[in-house]
């Protein structure tokens, strides 16, 4: 990933940011990302994000966990080391249900967390990418790629919505 030029607008509050996002999008200018200290209600919608595809990954991890658990138990208890437990058949399916359930949940949960961390670039050691460190405490930022935006127009628009500062910077986001 290399650096790129962005127009960074900084706001003090979430409402002006939300309004600005709507107007920038309405003008047809692509937005790279918004950086906020807490989840802003309605921002996902305003940015036009599609729904997360994480549930699909979850389903696949669930199927994987389910199959692994069943295979493990069937192979251990039915083939590798059959034991007589209370006269039950070696492959007694009711016995397998609790372990299958637990492993399905475990693999799904771990898989989802892993997928999320990788997809969002949040793995340990990953560098935090944000235009302003204050975004973690009290400042709301919008990043608009310069190559598809008209700086003067965006500058005027953001200022009109009450931005504290608007600047163009070369930065890796």
């Amino acid at each position: 990933m290399s650096s790129q030029k962005y127009i960074i607008g900084t706001f003090n509050d979430e409402e002006p940011l939300l309004e600005a996002v709507k107007e920038v999008r309405a003008a047809g200018t692509p937005i790279h990302e918004c950086y906020t200290p807490f989840p802003v209600h309605g921002l996902d919608e305003a940015l036009g994000y599609r729904r997360s595809r994480l549930p699909r990954a979850a389903f696949m991890f669930g199927v994987l966990g389910f199959s692994l658990a069943l295979f493990m138990q069937a192979w251990m208890l039915g083939y590798d080391w059959p034991m007589n437990i209370g006269g039950k058949p070696a492959l007694a399916w009711p016995d397998f249900v609790p372990v299958t359930f637990e492993l399905t949940v475990l693999i799904t949960a771990l898989g989802m967390v892993g997928t999320y961390l990788v997809a969002s670039g949040f793995l340990p050691g990953n560098e935090a990418k944000m235009p302003d460190i204050r975004c973690t405490s009290h400042v709301f930022c919008i990043a608009i790629p310069s190559n598809t935006a008209d700086y003067d127009k965006i500058h005027a628009l953001l200022m009109r919505h009450g931005a504290d500062e608007v600047e163009e910077r070369e930065i890796e986001l």
């Binding site: 209600h41 309605g42 919608e45 729904r51 549930p55 389903f59 209370g86 006269g87 039950k88 007694a92 009711p94 016995d95 249900v97 609790p98």
Partner: protein
């Protein structure tokens, strides 16, 4: 917030369409024919079905009150807009009580052998009918005590459901938080009362059919079944009312939540099913496993259908977000669950009453349809008695703006 259309909250008076009324009468007619056929061919079969259907709709009606109580103590706003539906369901309670009065009368008059423990001389060591295991249980399972229990339990259920409904209707006139708070207190008392009384009703009416056998989570199992049925009926009624032009304040967000309830409690039902089955399977104590032995030997197909229809199908169909927001899908899953829970009860009751020659025929289907007709008649009639939308409910605004991401 902020990006919602303004939805007007105004009174809606439901009028039962003539067609729906005729259908309920038609169903009741089928039920009457089935009752006559049942009584003339095999009275045991009739009594078993009478118990089954009474219990089924008793559960649905009582779960209406329980739903309101849970929503009340948790200060829920998402269900405020359609709370008239569970309220109207609970107005069926007296009809279910009447059914059980007939069942108790039939036991007293020895018209059937549904409850083995009521047999003459069962606890008398000198009698040829002496049963050692049942004799141990007679301190609890005897008719005077049982009738006393049932009278107390039914009275409590009736009073709680009536008072909660009355306060809820008063709220529509007064507004404000007074009635909401009062109902919250009443609900908090109702919940433990329900837990104990429901457990006893389950033992008395259903578990005591297989008198030798017992299960300590039997009542949880029956709660889960009745709860899923009730939520499905609420969801289907909301869909019906919306299509008939009412309850426009209910959005896909509320349907999504109802769908999650159906989905989650189908899994909960399965969890309890397995919890009961697995321990008995593991321990393999004859007096416990005979319960499943009977069902597995003579009701094998239904035994598996029960798990597929009540767990596998709703689990797979209702897993995604989109499916819970899809009306046709909800109708499909709701109808499946309503039928599935009837099958569940069928294999709970039939082995101990009708025995191995039990089968699903005209009497079974006809009587279920008859009771369904009676329930729908009472239920829809109660829906007409008050505005469908509780306009002065303190949380109605929260209800209208309710959003599920």
């Amino acid at each position: 917030m902020g990006h919602h259309h303004e939805v007007a909250v105004h009174e809606e008076k439901f009028v039962v369409p003539a067609r729906l009324r005729n259908i309920t009468f038609g169903l009741m007619g089928i039920g009457l024919v089935a009752i006559v056929v049942g009584l003339m061919t095999d009275s045991h079969r009739f009594w078993a079905n009478f118990l089954l259907n009474n219990w089924y709709f008793l559960g649905v009606a009582l779960m209406g009150t329980l739903f309101l109580a849970t929503q009340s103590v948790s200060n829920a706003g998402w269900s405020a807009g359609f709370k008239r539906i569970p309220e109207a369901m609970a107005t069926y309670l007296p009809y279910a009580f009447a059914g059980f009065a007939i069942i108790i009368l039939s036991v007293l008059m020895h018209w059937n052998h549904t409850y083995h423990w009521t047999h003459e001389g069962i606890a008398d060591p000198t009698s040829p009918d002496f049963d050692e295991i049942i004799a141990e249980k007679v301190a609890y399972l005897n008719l005077p005590f049982m009738i006393g229990r049932v009278v107390v339990i039914f009275t409590l259920w009736y009073l709680f459901s009536r008072v909660m409904r009355r306060n809820s209707l008063a709220e529509d006139l007064q507004g404000g938080f007074k009635m909401l708070k009062r109902n919250k207190t009443i609900s908090a008392i109702f919940l433990p009362v329900f837990a104990v009384s429901w457990a006893m009703a389950c033992w008395d009416f259903i578990m005591s059919i297989d008198t030798h056998w017992y299960s300590t989570i039997f009542w949880v199992y029956h709660f889960a079944a009745a709860w899923v049925t009730a939520i499905s009926i609420i969801a289907l009624t909301v869909i019906y009312l919306r299509r008939a032009g009412y309850l426009s304040i209910v959005s896909e967000h509320h349907m999504h939540d109802l769908g999650k309830f159906m989905f989650a409690f189908s899994i909960f039902w399965t969890y309890i099913w397995l919890s009961q089955f697995l321990l008995i399977f593991y321990a393999n104590i004859p007096e416990e496993s005979i319960y499943y032995q009977e069902r597995f030997e003579h009701f094998k197909l239904l035994f598996w259908i029960n798990l597929v229809i009540n767990f596998v199908v709703p689990f797979l169909l209702f897993m995604t977000r989109g499916s819970k927001r899809n009306e046709s899908m909800m109708i499909l899953v709701g109808v499946l669950l309503i039928i599935g829970k009837w099958i569940d009860l069928y294999i709970g009751i039939m082995p101990g009453t009708v025995g191995s020659h039990a089968h699903i025929g005209f009497v079974e289907i006809g009587m279920f349809l008859g009771f369904l007709g009676l329930f729908t008649f009472v239920f829809t009639r109660s829906l007409t008695k008050a505005s469908l939308v509780p306009t002065k409910h303190p949380y109605i605004k929260e209800f209208v703006t309710h959003e599920v991401l």
